[in-house]
Structures are given as structure tokens and as C-alpha cells.
Symmetry: C2
Subunit: 490 residues, 2 copies
């Protein structure tokens, strides 16, 4: 959603392109682009996440063992999944940049955007969009429409949106005869923004800044070094979490059919399964395939709570910088791996001797998905003045609570992993206990944090601002807390 969904967006610079376009006429079909952008976000996030399916279905056939060769195959698939996920994310980021420049759309532009979505490498159509939008300047964001350097902008944004696809094309070419180069090129695509950032920094050091400052400040509005628009980051993340949660349902259904007979025309069980799920006769459904549903609910709870942590985090983030965007992408990539975790844990019924590996893989996936969320927050804390709401900064009233929220899953998964090393025979029990315990911890978290803070307040004399994450809580100051949601003028 690029439309202003919260007041700070309406005021903040990110929403400018869309807020500027909303009191426009719809005659001649000039429209605000927010819904098209939300649709694109959903599409791209789903496409990126669906690529985990080859990995999960590696495990699906019942007769197959979890031996070294499969692990190797699995590893390569996971590498491919991660790379494709990251590349789709790069394409999405380029799309975000593009529509920070193109403020409004008309029908032609909407159709071109659909063509973009269809051929996921944006190569031909993003160029067309840029050309078309600059051909009809009233579609551009007002700031650029009014500017004198439009041609410069045009070549700049063309470079931004074409670099990635061009490299991908080159990689595809190389992949036909020499793989390593194509992998290298794809890695370049993924880390291009950071490469270009460094390159720009070096250029600035050697030959000085390319533009006069006042002008480069204009360019800043769609430069790759500019923070991503927060609401589109949220939309993309929501899409990933939603499709991951749905893949769990898909997997239940796949498992049941693949156990009976792989995709024969007679997989009536799943339509009954569907009915069972939708009529609420959960007892019968659980009776039919108990471990699957236990694993499903466990994994769904994990996805849901990771989304919940992400939601609480971005509720307090004012704008997402480049590094935060990268960390968010990595976190999402591991979230996309959760169907794999589900697959593994639900496979216990068939392959009890693989419990240990499965539980460890699951714990690792959950740990990385959540630790990257925590990393987003710590990165934000480094520039807390511009990135965070006051209430979660060092010493803010929500600071300790946010800290607890974001450390819960890394801690729990790490603990579970450690326990499996000690009590390897109870690994499944440990894992399910973790999955069941964490939600309740979340429910009681505020209470627990309050207790911890009360205890720590007694010891405040001993612990100074050296431990800022637990000091100076201001519980229950709800009256003067209107301010946190309102953005500082940035």
C-alpha cells in the first residue's frame, strides 16, 4: 500500500508520491497508484515465497530416506531458493524506486505494470514505463514534474531499473554454458545497491559529488540510497507471511495425497479435509491425521507470531533504511523456509529416526528468521533519531517490551536447539513444547516484562545507564504518549 495508511505517512516524505496524487481527477483515467502498488506487492511477495516449494517437496515422497545425498540436494535447492527470493526482492525494490518517481498512473501504465508482473524479469516493461511516464509528465511525482533536470532523472531511473534485469539476462546467458559466472552475476544483482553505494562514495571521494548539493537533494527522492517506503516494505512482508501461512495448509493437503497416491485423480480425502477444516469438526480432522495438524498448528503459530513481532516492530519504525531493508529481506527469506520446517516436523510420523535433524533444521530456520528481525531493530537503534518512534528508543517506555518481544523467538529456538543436543531422544517433545510455550509467553509478555522491570528498578542503583535496555521504564504514562505516533519533522 503506497497510500497513506497512517498519519506519519501522510506527513512523512515517503508517502509524498501517493498523497500528491490523490486529489487528482479520474477523467482521462489518471488514478492514484496505491491499489496497483499493493497488488504488485502481494504478487511479488507470493511469487518470491512460492519458490520454497521445490525444497519442501524434496521431502514429500514417503519412500525416501533423509540421507546425505538428499541433504546435499536439499542444500542446493535451498541455495537456489534463497537466491531467487533475493532476486525477486531486488526486482521489487526497483519497482518501489520506480513508483517513487511515477506518482500517478493511467490505464496504459496500469497495463504496462501488469506486463511487468507477468514477465517477472522487468526488463522490457519497466523501461517502457519510464519512457511513457516521462513522455506524460503529469504522471510523475509533482517534485520531479516541476524540476528542470527531468532528462537527467530519466536516465538515472532508467539506469536503476535496467541494471538488475540486464545482469540477470547476462547471467542467464552464462548459465547455458558456464554456471559459476551466472551465480556470480546474480550475487552482483542482489548486492548491487550496496556496491553502487560504495562506488558512489568512492566517486564522491575522487571527483567530488556529481551534482550540485541542492540538486542531489532532489535526486534523493528516488535514489537507491534513499530509504525504502515503509508501507511497501510492510505490504511485501505481509504478503510473504500470508502465503507462508497458506503453504502450510497446502502442505497438509499435499502430504495426505502423496501418502495415499501421488496426485491421482482420486484424492477425495483433501476435499473432505477441506470440509473438515471449514466445518470446524477439528476433532475428526485431527483424528484423521494427528501429527500433521499438530505440526501445522505449531508452524502456523510460529508464522503468526513472527508476523506479530514484525508488526509490532514496524509499528514503531518511522522509516526503513537500506540496511534495515536488507535485514528484513533476509528475515523474510527464512520465514519462507518455514514450510520446510513444517514438512520436516510433520514427517516424524513416517521417519522417526530423522527427528533430530528435522528439529534442528526447524530450530535453525526459526532462529535465523527471528534473529534478523532483532537485527533490524538493533540497526534501527543505531540511528534511532530518524528511524524509530520515541517510545522505543533507549529509555523509551516501550523499549524494554520491544526488546523482550524480539528476543523471545531467538531465545526459545536457541534453547530448544541446545536442549536437543543434550536430550536428543526427546527432540520432538522439546520442539512442540517450544512451539506451544511461546504463544502463551507472548500473551503474558507485558506482565512478565513489568515484573522484570519492577525487579530491576529495585537494583537500579547497581545498574546505571550502562544497561539502558532495562532502565528508566515509564509504565502507564498513556496521556502524554500521543506524541510517539506523530513523526518529528524530517
Amino acid at each position: 500500500m503506497s497510500g497513506p495508511r497512517t498519519p506519519e505517512l501522510a506527513l512523512g516524505g515517503q508517502g509524498a508520491s501517493s498523497t500528491g496524487s490523490q486529489d487528482e481527477d479520474t477523467a482521462d483515467g489518471i488514478q492514484s497508484s496505491h491499489r496497483m502498488l499493493s497488488f504488485s506487492d502481494a504478487l511479488l511477495s507470493i511469487i518470491a515465497t512460492v519458490m520454497i516449494l521445490p525444497v519442501t517437496h524434496t521431502e514429500i515422497s514417503p519412500e525416501q530416506e533423509f540421507d546425505k545425498s538428499v541433504q546435499k540436494l536439499l542444500a542446493t535447492r535451498i541455495a537456489v531458493y534463497l537466491m531467487t527470493f533475493l532476486i525477486v526482492t531486488v526486482a521489487w525494490a526497483a519497482h518501489t524506486r520506480l513508483f517513487q518517481v511515477v506518482g500517478k498512473i493511467d490505464d496504459t501504465l496500469a497495463l504496462l505494470n501488469l506486463a511487468c508482473m507477468m514477465s517477472i524479469t522487468f526488463l522490457p516493461f519497466t523501461a517502457l514505463i519510464v519512457v511513457y511516464a516521462f513522455h506524460r509528465p503529469h504522471l510523475l511525482s509533482p517534485q520531479i514534474e516541476r524540476s528542470a533536470h527531468r532528462a537527467l532523472y530519466r536516465q538515472h531511473i532508467l539506469g536503476i531499473v535496467l541494471r538488475g534485469p540486464a545482469l540477470c539476462l547476462a547471467a542467464a546467458g552464462f548459465s547455458l554454458f558456464f554456471y559459476p559466472v551466472s551465480y556470480l552475476l546474480m550475487a552482483t544483482v542482489i548486492f548491487l545497491p550496496y556496491v553502487s553505494k560504495v562506488a558512489g562514495w568512492c566517486r564522491a571521494r575522487l571527483v567530488g559529488p556529481r551534482e550540485p548539493p541542492a540538486h542531489s537533494l532532489e535526486i534523493f527522492t528516488f535514489d537507491l540510497h534513499e530509504p525504502l517506503s515503509k508501507e511497501r516494505v510492510e505490504a511485501f512482508s505481509d504478503g510473504v507471511y500470508a502465503i507462508v501461512a497458506t503453504l502450510l495448509i497446502l502442505d497438509i493437503w499435499n502430504l495426505r495425497t502423496s501418502e495415499a497416491r501421488p496426485f491421482s485423480e482420486d484424492n477425495v480425502p483433501d476435499s473432505e479435509d477441506v470440509k473438515a477444516k471449514f466445518h470446524g469438526s477439528l476433532v475428526a480432522a485431527l483424528g484423521a491425521s494427528g501429527p500433521h495438524f499438530l505440526a501445522y498448528f505449531g508452524s502456523f503459530a510460529t508464522v503468526g507470531l513472527l508476523w506479530f513481532a514484525h508488526h509490532s516492530l514496524f509499528l514503531h519504525i518511522r522509516k526503513a533504511t537500506q540496511p534495515m531493508g536488507l535485514l528484513n529481506t533476509l528475515s523474510l527469506a527464512f520465514v519462507g523456509g518455514l514450510p520446510l520446517a513444517y514438512q520436516q516436523t510433520s514427517a516424524f510420523a513416517r521417519r522417526p529416526h530423522d527427528e533430530l535433524e528435522s528439529v534442528r533444521v526447524s530450530c535453525a530456520i526459526i532462529f535465523f528468521a527471528s534473529i534478523f528481525q532483532f537485527a533490524i531493530w538493533t540497526t534501527a537503534l543505531l540511528q534511532e533519531g530518524e528511524t524509530l518512534q520515541p517510545s522505543v528508543r533507549f529509555g523509551g517506555q516501550e523499549h524494554a517490551f520491544m526488546f523482550a518481544k524480539l528476543t523471545l523467538y531467538p531465545g526459545a529456538s536457541l534453547l530448544a536447539f541446545a536442549c536437543t543436543c543434550v536430550l536428543s531422544s526427546f527432540s520432538t517433545a522439546i520442539f512442540h513444547a517450544m512451539q506451544i510455550a511461546v504463544p502463551f509467553t507472548f500473551l503474558l509478555l507485558r506482565l512478565l516484562v513489568r515484573l522484570a522491570l519492577a525487579g530491576l528498578r529495585g537494583l537500579r542503583g547497581l545498574r546505571g545507564p550502562a544497561r539502558p535496555t532495562h532502565t528508566r521504564p515509564v509504565p502507564g504514562a498513556t496521556d502524554d504518549a500521543q506524541s510517539p505516533l506523530l513523526p518529528a519533522p524530517c
Copy 2:
């Protein structure tokens, strides 16, 4: 998205619950609910749509013929799909109602909502949400928080959110020993709003209105007879279109693996397939599986353009009434069937002798998906004063253009269907020609409509307001068209 994404929402009554909650404090974790709602919309739409997969996979096994028995099985599956889709939509509608009452959320409520999503029959948790929200009145929408009849509201909304799940549970019970009754009950669930509307109307006729008018006006804000919140309808529809578009990609991948060996551990082709798609070497990919990709692009274009028509339509809709919501649901249900159309057309390579049935099924699906969109518009035109922007009302400058947009797909699919009846041997060619021709028609549509209107203006003397859809066009009146986007005080 329950947040105000467009000005008319910020002003209109629908967005009131969320706009009221946005300048609130985040201390004690009281949050605006817009992102949680968008996430729920995405999740529910994906879950509803994914239920088409059992139907599509009926066709997947290559050795199987498209004979009568399969058609029968397919028919029953489609019935099940439609019913589950409609039931999920009912659950989504209840969720919308609920969060028209609950304006703000805190962490507990967010977690309860996640539990709702997990157990898709909302039975236990919606009740919990209602109880909790009324236990903490500051979470309620301000209007209800201030009201004196809170207990009444509570029982009213409890009734609304519990009726459906209770009936589903009863249906599940019956399904264990006697099917027809459960189908009947599920039908009741789907059409409950309309039943209750009629019942309420009758009651009002017999014993007079239950509430004093001033009070029933308050209840109206979350009554089932109140229009759905337009932005949540849009979000739900976007989710459906996005997941359908993605299922097409999934199907490519499924087809390839199922042709090789169904879900064995060695489906490396798809990871290559993925690479092919993501590196842009589309030529190689097409060479590998030509008809699949042709059918994929055709179906993707269809999904995208149906979304485009939906987007243009709702851009001009001010609020969505109950019948429009039902028609939108039916349209979406058929959109969800498009992967089936894709499955059929892409199966030509394997079963050429089924071309005719396949093409006809595809044309029928596209026709119904688009004709229900058209029905939304005609229904809106019946109350155009409150439902439509002035520019698309009878005689509005966009009216003829919108008419053309919404009649394009019904006309094209109907034409294709008719052609297949005449030239049955060229059915595939006809279908693909239709799929290729329509996008270009969309691109040239504005031009074509202008030409048609120019021609009609010459004949205006002959045709009076009896043919309002083509009369009194006001082309190029872009200055005074600011007003259409601003809502009339309703």
C-alpha cells in the same frame, strides 16, 4: 486495509473506526488495526482461493482421460470449491463486521486475531475478541465506546459473529452421518445475511422496529445490513487475484513434475524452470515447455486484466452495498477457477481430443467471472447516487468508457464460445487469439470508445436518452473533474 487509503475514506463513514484509532498512543500497546486487517484479508483471500487446487489437480495425471466420470468428479469438486470459497467469504465478512466495532487493537487482540486465522472457523476466538474488546471499551470504535447501549451492541455483534460458525459446526456434525442436511446448513450460512435481512424486514412489518430510530441508527454502524467497508473488499479481491496469478506459476511447475514423475525427490526441472523464469532466458524456457507457457501467459493476462477491470470499477465506486458484495464474491469465485481454465488449455499438448470441452470450460469461467463484475456495476447504477462517483453515472464522462471496459471480457469470451460451436476444430486457435486480442483491445480501448462516441454523437438526433450508456459524453472536461473523487456528504 482498514486505514484510510483515499480521501473519501478519510471522510466517508466506513473508515471511521480506523481513522478514529490512528492518533492514539502506543503506550500499553494500543495500536491502529489497519495492518492487522490487511494481513487478515490477504490470508483469508489466499485460503479461500487455494481450495481450487483439488479441482485443478483432478486433471493433472497424464494417463487419465477426460471422460464422463471425471467430469462428474470435477463437477462435485467445483461445487465443494464454490461452497468453501463462499463460506470463507462469509467468515471474512463477519470479520469485517467485527472490526468495524473494534476500532483499535492491543497485543492481546492481535494474538487472538491470529488464533482466529489459524482456526478458520472463527468459532471460539471471535467470541473471545468480542468479550475482550467490550471488557476494555477504549478498544471499541469511539461511537460505540461513548454509547449507552454497549451491552446491547455486545450481544448483537456476538450474534452476528457466532451464527455462521455455529451453523458450520452443526453442518459438520450432520456431515458425519447425513450429508444433505449439512449442505443445506452451509447454504444457510452463505445466504444468512440476506435471510436475516428479509427476516428483519418481516419483523419490522409485524412488530415494528426493535429499537427506537435514533438508536437503530447507531447500531447501523456495524449492522450486517450496513455496506461492507470498500477498502477491505478491495484488499480481499487483490489477495484473490494475486494468489490466482501465482497458482498459474505453481501449475506450470506441477505439470512439469507430474509429467516426469509425480512429486518424486528428483524434480530438478522446476529449479531450472525457476532459474529460467528469473534470469529472463524466456526463450529457452518456452522451448522447454511451449504450450504450458503460452497458456500461462494467456491466463495470466486474463487474471491481470480482470483485476484491471475490477480496479477501474472500484476506483469509481464510493461504497459497496450488500448485493454488490455478493456479486463481487461470485466474480472472485470464478476468478479462482481460472487455474482450472489454465490447466485445461495447457493440457492440450497431452489430450488434443479434449480441446473443445477445455476451451468451452475456460470461456465459461472467464465469461462468468467478468459478467459478475459487470453485474456489480449495473447494481451500483441502480443506486448510483450513493454508490458511484459522478463521472461514471448515467451521462458521466467516464460512463461509456467504463461500460466498454466491463463488457469487453464477457463479449470476447461469449464470442469465443460461439466461434467454438461453429468452428469446433479451431477451438484452441480461437481461444488463444481471444487471449491475445483482448489485451491490445484494452490498450486501445479509450481510443476506440472515443471513436464510437464520435460516431454516435452524429446519430444523437436518432437516439435519445433511451440509450443512456452511449449518450451525452463530455470528453476532455478535466478541470472541473476534481469533484468526482470527493464524496458527497452521506
